[in-house]
């Protein structure tokens, strides 16, 4: 019952957040200079043609009216159609005039659903690698607060957080892909193409996990129930793995919810560098091309994902530790 109440409340709040986000990005796109029509009809088109196309697309209506129209579509799960991408998949460039009011442009929903699995795959692999790197280091650092393990955790975390992701990407492409020919780097032709971008992303996430793990595990190990467990005669392995880690996991799960936007930002840059066919790459191309419906769709998708994952995070934290307030 408590969980149901929590879900209803959080989903209502989440819808509000997605609504505000969409309004923010919608207004921002139209207030900031840069006319998508100019890019659609090409630089050579006379101003009256620009105005005509803009009026036909409804881009000269008041923002509130445009937003209302957009919302009506959104309620029917229709995010509109791309300004630049026809159904066939080719990108229309400026000059070649493609009439965006016609229905041969790709629906934004399709564009996003097509790419979302790739991005989720990359994000998931990156998270997995990050956990693999940071668990041994973080647990060792947390258990030995005054030993070399803690110093190592501190050093690794300071170093990793200081490496710019795009630079690491280039250096790894140079060494692992060009020089040693171990991993493929650019584009996507199979699972192995995920590995290198995922490694770069995991280096970006790992320091946060290491830091949280060392501090929270260190705190938990000092609490009385750990001493009590020792008195009860439990083995050290049992104490660490089933008592201490379980309690130290709550801040870790919360961290994932907070760091999600860093992860999404990282995904965007990494996908752009590796030419990986995910949402991040689509974002960069759409922003440069002023493809309003696609940008709005992506913003709504990411904020929905953000809200969803934060709800899950709070639920998982509650499952692990029922003392956590929902």
């Amino acid at each position: 019952m408590l969980i149901l109440e929590f879900l209803v409340k959080r989903i209502a709040q989440g819808l509000l957040i997605v609504f505000i986000t969409s309004l923010l990005i919608f207004t921002l796109l139209r207030v900031v200079p840069g006319d998508p029509v100019r890019l659609i009809v090409g630089g050579m088109a006379p101003p009256d043609v620009v105005e005509k196309v803009a009026n036909k697309m409804g881009l000269r209506d008041p923002i509130i009216v445009q937003y209302g129209r957009y919302m009506r579509g959104l309620l029917q799960a229709d995010l509109g159609q791309s300004y630049l991408r026809p159904r066939s998949g080719m990108i229309a460039t400026g000059g070649q005039y493609v009439d965006p009011t016609k229905s041969d442009m790709a629906p934004v929903t399709d564009l996003i659903l097509e790419r979302l699995p790739f991005t989720l795959q990359l994000g998931g692999m990156a998270l997995l690698f990050a956990l693999l790197i940071s668990f041994p280091i973080g647990v060792a650092g947390g258990l030995h607060q005054h030993g070399w393990q803690n110093a190592l955790a501190f050093a690794v975390q300071s170093l990793f957080v200081s490496i710019p992701n795009f630079w690491l990407a280039i250096v790894l492409i140079l060494f692992l892909s060009v020089k040693l020919k171990l991993l493929p780097a650019l584009g996507y032709q199979g699972f192995s193409y995920v590995l290198l971008p995922a490694i770069v992303l995991s280096v970006e996430i790992a320091p946060f996990i290491i830091r949280t793990l060392t501090t929270s595990l260190g705190e938990v190990m000092q609490s009385t129930f750990i001493d009590e467990a020792r008195v009860r005669g439990l083995s050290r392995r049992r104490i660490v793995y089933s008592h201490a880690l379980r309690n130290a996991a709550v801040p870790l799960v919360n961290l994932l919810g907070i760091q999600l936007s860093t992860l999404i930002g990282g995904v965007l840059v990494i996908e752009y560098i590796f030419d990986y066919p995910g949402l991040g790459n689509l974002t960069v191309v759409s922003v440069v091309g002023r493809d309003f419906p696609v940008i709005q769709g992506i913003a709504i998708t990411t904020s929905a994902v953000f809200v969803f994952i934060n709800i899950i995070v709070d639920l998982v934290a509650y499952m692990i530790d029922p003392r956590v307030e929902l």
Binding site: Q13, P164, Y272
Partner: protein, 305 residues
């Protein structure tokens, strides 16, 4: 008699203890070797980037094509003393370009964090102190802002307006303030219920007076110590924007655009991509060492109180 002396001694001790909390945090950090190493590296880089470009006659933007692709000292067979870290594809000195890039990077990072600190903490304190409607509105805007990844916001704005140092700072600040607002708000909510605030209310002090003169000095310093870490984060973001072509525009060198341009020469002239990255990574490491030492020492002192 003894009772009066105790009462007289009490108010004298209180202000000196409040001041000493911050001083103890600094002192605690100073005792850590990582803090000192980080601080010395950082000051060294700061001095180098402040002095060397002023003294040297080499220009960071002038192209000398006959000197192009010179490797760093003692590497390869064409190195030259006047270009200790080699030259790029247009014969520009790598050391000079990296140092100028470092100047801009630090400028953007520090100014942005100051701005974020003022906006975020200001709104957070206000929301936490006023409560009710103000709190709800400001915090929901914060949530919405947090759910838009900063980079999407940044490329949306910078993609069209010509990126200059002020616009970059504003965009980065716009996306960075929500976390500070959250932290400051929760601290303000906790502070609001404390005895001294209620005491001040009884004495007739207004919201603003309590907030600015009494609560802020308690709430802000702990946040400020951790803000050092965000200078590094903002420097990375500045570099990412530069890499995407949305940072400080050429010919002015910036780390991001230098690394982006050098990708084409990666195989023949690896140093063009590597050297700015190393400069950036060393600067970031030094700032992070200082920041995490401050954070550790802060947590230790607040945990011990």
């Amino acid at each position: 008699m003894t009772a009066t002396t105790v009462i007289a001694a009490q108010p004298e001790q209180a202000p000196s203890r409040i001041r000493s909390v911050n001083r103890r945090i600094l002192l605690g950090a100073w005792r850590m070797p990582s803090f000192r190493i980080g601080l010395f590296i950082f000051l060294g880089l700061l001095l180098l980037s402040a002095i060397y470009p002023e003294l040297s006659s080499i220009s960071a933007t002038k192209m000398i094509v006959k000197d192009k692709f010179l490797p760093p000292l003692w590497l390869g067979d064409k190195w030259a003393w006047e270009h200790p870290l080699g030259t790029d594809q247009l014969g520009r000195d790598m050391l000079m370009r990296s140092l100028i890039g470092l100047r801009y990077s630090l400028l953007v990072g520090i100014v942005t964090v100051l701005l974020i600190f003022i906006i975020g903490c200001g709104l957070g304190l206000f929301a936490g102190f006023k409560g009710k409607w103000w709190d709800t509105i400001i915090m929901r805007i914060t949530d919405a802002q947090l759910s838009i990844p900063m980079i999407i916001l940044a490329i949306t704005i910078l993609g069209v307006s010509r990126p200059t140092v002020p616009t970059i700072v504003i965009v980065l600040a716009l996306s960075g303030w929500p976390l500070y607002a959250r932290v400051a708000r929760s601290a303000a909510v906790a502070e609001r219920g404390k005895e001294y605030v209620r005491g001040l209310r009884v004495l007739g002090a207004g919201d603003w007076r309590i907030l600015l003169l009494f609560a802020a000095p308690n709430i802000l310093p702990p946040i400020a110590f951790v803000a050092v870490l965000d200078v590094a984060r903002m420097m990375i973001f500045e570099a990412i924007l530069g890499f995407l072509g949305l940072g400080i525009q050429p010919p002015t060198p910036s780390f991001g655009s230098m690394i982006a341009d050098s990708r084409k020469y990666l195989i023949n002239a690896w140093w063009i991509a590597t050297i700015p990255g190393i400069f950036l990574a060393v600067a970031l490491t030094s700032i992070n060492l200082v920041g995490s030492a401050l954070e550790k020492s802060r947590n230790r002192i607040y945990g011990g109180l």
